[in-house]
């Protein structure tokens, strides 16, 4: 039940005043906030772990791996690179503009709004916050109400460790989001589903606010026939992680479905079953190593996916669920109907359809026929297949022989394309996402080319022609009257 809230004018006014004062632009302020994030995670780790367990049933090691370790790594990376990122870069000027110099100066955008999702409430809040702070902005964070304990911990810890006049948290549901979006921000960074993404972008359009939309999609994993038993073992572990291991499959870069050859399918199913048991035991719910489904609504949604005709009959493993605990066990389906909801909507849960094809290369066409996902995965040692997948599919990213791990690489841009979103972040891309690179040109009065100005005549035209071509030799000749045409 959402309380009726105010319009946030007061908060926004304060943020704008603080930004205008220049405080957030100081390198020292940015550093202190990034250090503050590190302290927050060091000192309040147990509160964070408790909240993630409460809202999502995440095992504390999974929580550390996916949200705590990653954020601390990113904050440290930002601290180490801040000076470099903040410095201006020289740009080359053509000789024709001599004497001149040019540079690119990064500057903060101003007051930014970050809307994060419920599946990785800490990671998806702090990764953008790190970028926004490093770039010198003031921030308002709106975490998801679907992970309320986490949202509350976010509000409290940010209040305790970061500069409240410049970084604020606003908790609440869609009504709060709507009210916030009625205001003008200098940037909106949104992680979530496409439907709300559209609402966000439409609201931003009223103010010409630039947006980054980190959406999802059906991330396919092409699993080729693998001969070596060592490779098979590693691949299975990584596939299982990629599907079930990150928030129980409720992740934008989780493997959504698998594509494999017909001949390999039964081996694959067998191996997946074996390694599911190895990772989670015979009773996965008891292992407490798989996150639960976030709420009843999503639980029902997932159950309904399984209940469709042509889908239910394709279940080859798992399928059991526990409504009280909001738990669904790892479930494998073999060739459900292609036009069923489970094959047309983003699953966002621990249900793994395997689609079989005559040849593994057909997977490329299969993927291309569908909206561009956030990630494409390929488990194969076949270099040609890799090349084909890279050049003939389009996605935010493509990863071979592993899954999810691209999220932790500071040097890889993280973002979607087409239906999976636009804009990107992580590492320096986070800094750039929240910055404006101002082009600065400095000229002098020493040299002034008369042919830039009217009154016009043919000689000036010829001089301009050679000038714009950087054909300085001809330019000189024309000037000296030794040549008449450029």
């Amino acid at each position: 039940m959402e309380a009726i809230v105010g319009g946030f004018e007061g908060e926004l006014k304060e943020l704008r005043e603080v930004f205008n004062s220049g405080k957030t632009r100081e390198a020292s302020w940015r550093r202190s906030q990034l250090q503050g994030i590190l302290s927050l995670f060091k000192e309040r780790e147990s509160d964070i772990l408790k909240a993630l367990h409460q809202d999502l049933g995440k095992h504390h090691v999974e929580a550390y791996r996916d949200e705590i370790g990653t954020v601390m790594k990113s904050a440290t990376y930002a601290l180490g690179n801040l000076k470099k990122w903040m410095s201006s870069k020289r740009a080359k000027m053509p000789l024709a503009s001599f004497p001149s110099s040019a540079k690119l100066v990064p500057e903060p955008l101003g007051v930014v709004l970050i809307i994060s999702s419920w599946n990785f409430p800490f990671g998806l809040s702090f990764e953008p916050i790190i970028g926004a702070i490093a770039a010198g902005n003031a921030v308002i964070l709106k975490p998801s109400e679907l992970s309320p304990t986490c949202s509350s911990v976010l509000a409290n810890t940010i209040r305790d460790y970061l500069d409240n006049s410049a970084i604020k948290v606003v908790e609440g549901g869609p009504l709060v989001g709507e009210k916030l979006l009625q205001h003008k921000f200098d940037k909106v960074f949104f992680t979530g589903g496409p439907r709300v993404g559209e609402v966000v972008m439409t609201a931003a359009a009223k103010f010409l606010t630039p947006v980054t939309l980190e959406l999802g999609g059906k991330c396919p994993a092409v699993v080729d026939f693998i001969s070596s038993s060592w490779d098979k073992k590693i691949a299975m572990k990584r596939i299982i992680w990629g599907k079930f291991g990150a928030c129980g499959g409720q992740a934008c870069i989780a493997i959504d479905y698998i594509l494999t050859q017909k001949q390999f399918a039964s081996t694959l199913v067998e191996m997946l079953q074996k390694y599911i048991k190895r990772s989670f035991g015979d009773n996965p719910m008891e292992s407490h190593s798989i996150a639960k489904i976030v709420n009843k609504k999503h639980f029902s949604r997932l159950k309904e996916l399984l209940d469709e005709p042509g889908v239910k009959s394709s279940i080859v493993y798992g399928g059991k669920s526990d409504e009280q605990n909001l738990f669904i066990e790892p479930t494998i389906l073999l060739d459900p109907l292609l036009d069923s909801s489970i094959m047309t909507e983003e699953i966002f849960g621990p249900l793994l359809p395997i689609i079989t094809l005559e040849r593994i290369e057909d997977s490329v066409e299969f993927i291309r026929a569908r909206p561009k996902p956030l990630a494409v995965y390929g488990f194969t040692n076949n270099e040609n297949l890799k090349k084909k997948m890279i050049s003939e599919t389009s996605s935010g990213s493509i990863t071979f022989n592993d899954a999810i791990i691209q999220y932790a690489a500071d040097t890889l841009p993280f973002g979607g394309v087409g239906g999976s979103g636009f804009g990107r972040y992580h590492g320096k891309y986070s800094f750039e996402n929240f910055s404006h690179e101002k082009a600065v040109m400095m000229r002098g009065y020493l040299i002034d080319f008369g042919f830039r100005y009217p009154p016009w005549n043919n000689k000036k035209l010829q001089l301009l022609k050679s000038g714009l071509r950087y054909d300085y030799f001809t330019l000189v000749l024309i000037k000296l009257g030794l040549k008449s045409k450029a």
């Binding site: 972008m201 791990i405 600065v440 040109m441």
Partner: protein, 486 residues
């Protein structure tokens, strides 16, 4: 088949062409770029005539601002495209070993370029160069306010460029609105802030990324300068106000800020410069473009309907209804709440606002939306620093005007109300590309601790991993470091 169906069919054809992969080959892209070069070269005189008749542009101005710019842009793209298209390899932290990472640019797909009327050739072809270099198929929608240029492009482009990959669609607002309903992989828009909002709102329906090149009131700060520099500065100001399409330019100077005691000197010098450049025969101004149509002509005249504004005219002020030419006009200190000081002028009227101290100009500029460009004529290094640090704009140019437009290495775009995104040079290529992150891992080496079943050892290991503490990891693996109980 009605107009909508026909347009949809054209767009469908572009999508099919893109799917064939033809536009991705470097051979195709270079062939198209060379064709643009030939088009300009073989039709130069026709273009001069068109721009002169439609906009009153003198051939030298047309060359300087449009034809020469496009030529330079294509040459630059042809020189650099191999480099732009190549994947960028990079480093990953050691924990990922063995792995390789690259960032690979790929085309977005089918893109829509909507151009404005003031530089009808440059604003269609320059973005087109970017879209083609990046490997996309394109719909060009030139402005109906420069219909002859639009027709010319519609007729001539199919004989130079691949008609299955680049199409020109002519028409007015209805056509634009229709086009905006379709699903594009990118929309590139040059025009007014008002229409920019409409474009972005329409793009939101399909979650289409946009680049908006808008305008704004670009100020010129004019500090005290010694006489010799003053003369050159005045030429550059005149060139930046009345030079590009008689002030109808996004980066044209909109208004000027000058110190009270210096104002008359500056005005005198400007008057001399105007007379030299354009003559003072009210019936026959030379080298000056006309206003695009009656609507805009009347709009500009209405700025002066307020007598409080009209009384501030210190030079010029004559309007010729037949030729649609407005004399270069200077106004001294019009009321700050008048329309002319709050809307983008986009015409040859130059308000000069005086202040006691030139440093007040910073606050003045900050009280208005962020412009596309800020110009500052000053030799005071401290003042320059303040301008850079305390104002925000697409770009800043010291001691010159408009010239930043010519530099291939500088990004060209706005911030805040002056726009989203940027182009020119490599930035054009980037704006029409998606940079896909490619991560290749191998099966050789596996860091066990990533996956469940969970235990303390794995948690400890993960802590060390995120700290890139390789020594610690090694010690832990060798059993020389005990996992702490956390």
């Amino acid at each position: 088949m009605n107009a909508d169906q026909e347009m949809r069919r054209s767009v469908e054809e572009l999508r099919l062409t893109f799917k064939t992969g033809k536009t991705r080959t470097v051979g195709w892209r270079k062939a198209q770029l060379r064709a643009i070069l030939r088009l300009i070269h073989e039709n130069e005189n026709t273009l001069f005539h068109l721009l002169q008749s439609e906009l009153g542009k003198h051939p030298v101005e047309s060359y300087r601002d449009e034809i020469g710019v496009v030529k330079k842009s294509v040459d630059h793209a042809l020189n650099c495209i191999d480099q732009w298209m190549s994947p960028k390899k990079g480093r990953l932290p050691l924990v990922y070993f063995p792995a390789s990472r690259q960032v690979l640019p790929e085309p977005l797909g089918v893109v829509l370029i909507i151009a404005s009327w003031n530089f009808p050739i440059a604003l269609t072809l320059d973005p087109l160069i970017g879209a083609i270099s990046a490997g996309n198929t394109v719909v060009l929608k030139p402005s109906e306010l420069s219909p002859n240029c639009a027709s010319f492009l519609a007729n001539i482009l199919p004989s130079y460029l691949d008609p299955k990959a680049v199409k020109v669609i002519e028409g007015g607002r209805e056509v634009s609105n229709q086009l905006l309903q379709y699903k594009w992989d990118k929309i590139f828009f040059t025009g007014s802030t008002k229409v920019g909002k409409i474009v972005m709102a329409a793009a939101a329906n399909n979650l289409t990324p946009v680049t908006l090149e808008l305008g704004g009131k670009c100020p010129a700060i004019f500090d005290f300068l010694p006489n010799s520099d003053l003369k050159v500065a005045a030429k550059r100001v005149a060139s930046g106000k009345w030079g590009p399409c008689a002030g109808q330019a996004g980066i044209g100077i909109d208004y000027m800020l000058v110190e009270q005691k210096f104002a008359s000197t500056v005005i005198e010098q400007l008057k001399k410069t105007i007379k030299r450049f354009y003559g003072d025969d009210a019936k026959n101004f030379k080298n000056l473009s006309k206003i695009i149509n009656k609507g805009h002509f009347d709009r500009l005249r209405s700025f002066l309907e307020d007598s409080a504004v009209a009384n501030c005219i210190v030079y010029g002020g004559s309007f010729d209804d037949t030729s649609l030419i407005i004399e270069p006009t200077i106004l001294l200190d019009p009321p700050l709440d008048a329309e002319i000081m709050n809307e983008e002028i986009f015409g040859p009227l130059l308000p000069i606002i005086t202040m006691d101290n030139i440093e007040e100009s910073i606050e003045f500029i900050n009280s208005k939306p962020k412009p596309l460009a800020i110009y500052a004529f000053t030799k005071n290094e401290n003042f320059k620093k303040r301008i850079l640090a305390e104002t925000s704009s697409g770009s800043v140019t010291f001691n010159d005007t408009v010239i930043q437009f010519l530099c291939d290495e500088l990004p060209f775009g706005g911030v805040g109300q002056s726009g989203i995104g940027r182009y020119h040079g490599k930035y054009s290529f980037d704006t029409f590309s998606h940079e896909k992150a490619v991560l290749e891992r191998s099966f050789y080496f596996e860091l066990e601790p990533w996956h469940p079943p969970w235990n303390n050892f794995k948690l400890q290991f993960l802590r060390l991993v995120y700290n890139y503490d390789y020594v610690g990891m090694l010690l832990l693996l060798l059993g020389l470091k005990r996992p702490s109980n956390s």
